[in-house]
Symmetry: C2
Subunit: 225 residues, 2 copies
DNA sequence: CAATTATGATAGTAACACTATCTTGCAGTA
DNA sequence: TACTGCAAGATAGTGTTACTATCATAATTG
């Protein structure tokens, strides 16, 4: 298994954390800490203590904790797009490609040995619970201009293109995809914390399969003419 | 036009803000301020200055700013349920009721003279930009136990019941409704800030109509058997 | 009139989100 | 080997946030 590196937008960091020992530790341990504490209670000070470094050193990699979160979420979406790429190799049928994309988005996330330094399970929990906070801010327009959300947007565009291949007359391909991608996370969160907002039963095995089925039905029914 | 008061869960406040002058000012001006500054930059200190009161006084009404936000969002959902109630009076057909519910959820929000002290337009912008933050926290389970999300859940249940009337075999009525309600807000946010994630064009007149159409198609296609 | 209670005034605290500066140590180069 | 550059550590400091506590005062109620 080859060890790869995902290319992340340079505006997301001051110094590339993938290139140094300390940088990798920052990313690795921030994933663990945000997962444990939640984003609001996570601080650079606590992270510094944990990795036996200093606040100042962390600030040399990331401008602030918001950028670090956006970095992690961007990494996630790049990873998902890479996985969709990988899994749709040599497949022609747009229906099949759409199905695979939805599967990759909704499926249970296990450790990907291609990226040994990232704990994808923890990161997935962060994506579910925190990713909306990356853009629900007053600086969203500036952040967007800097290209911080490129990963999500590019993925959305790609899956929307499958939909247009299937039904060129469908009017809302991007809206449908962005809705489905967010719904996938939301339903997992609801199933766990606000179960009356969801019909997925919170049993580990069934959960992800049901979620995938819900999304597939939603999308394929929507684009049927 | 009768002036009504919505009944809000008592766990959301320490002293009922609807019953005093100061309380109403807190609610009114916090809506304006959160709309202007965004929730993270909004503080009780700034609010106190604006309404010529003190931090301490505001803390006598709301435990903290998170609870205040949850209060505002709860008010909003109660208002929406009241409006759906109002607009579905004497209507039998579940299809029609579902349509009306989606319309009320998606339509442009204007000042409702029934609640003269609330700026519904500003509140709607807050709901779009901030409402997810009410439950995307580590204390979601405790907050939920206290019934803080009752409004949203009750509305979801009601609309889901329309769906089950239409098609008793549809397996994901709650998931579909919660997805649609969130999608409605999300698409408006995307249209304005991340337009490549949406197909709604950001022209004031068309926007809400398109959004409503998107949601209706999504929901009605999903439940068709 | 006395008692209660809402509000205001003021002060204080721990944590947070940085910023600045200076030093150390190490890797590469002349 | 000495020189240079730079990453990281050490330390300190600042303004703000999110509270909590206490006391005074004014208005309302019994």
């Amino acid at each position: 298994m080859a060890t790869l590196q995902l290319l992340i937008n340079e505006n997301l960091f001051l110094r590339d954390p993938q290139e140094t020992e300390l940088g990798r530790k920052i990313v690795q341990d921030s994933i663990a800490m945000i997962d444990e504490l939640g984003f609001e209670k996570f601080t650079f000070k606590k992270l510094a203590q944990r990795i036996d470094s200093t606040e100042a050193s962390i600030y040399r990699y990331f401008e602030n904790k918001h950028k670090l979160l956006v970095y992690l979420i961007a990494w996630y979406w790049n990873w998902i797009e890479y996985r969709i790429d990988y899994c749709t190799q040599n497949i022609e049928s747009p229906e099949r490609k759409l199905e695979i994309a939805l599967k990759v988005i909704a499926e249970k996330k296990d450790k990907d040995p291609t990226f040994p330094q990232i704990d994808e399970e923890a990161l997935y929990r962060i994506v579910i619970a925190e990713s909306d906070k990356t853009y629900l801010t007053k600086q969203v327009d500036e952040d967007n201009k800097e290209g911080l959300f490129r990963g999500f947007k590019s993925l959305c565009k790609r899956v929307a293109s499958y939909i247009l291949e299937i039904n060129p007359d469908y009017v809302y391909p991007h809206s449908l995809v962005s809705t489905a991608m967010q719904a996938g996370h939301q339903q997992l969160f609801y199933a766990q914390h606000l179960p009356s907002l969801s019909d997925l039963n919170n049993s580990e095995d069934e959960l992800y399969i049901q979620n995938e089925k819900f999304l597939k039905e939603l999308v394929f029914h929507a684009i049927k003419n």
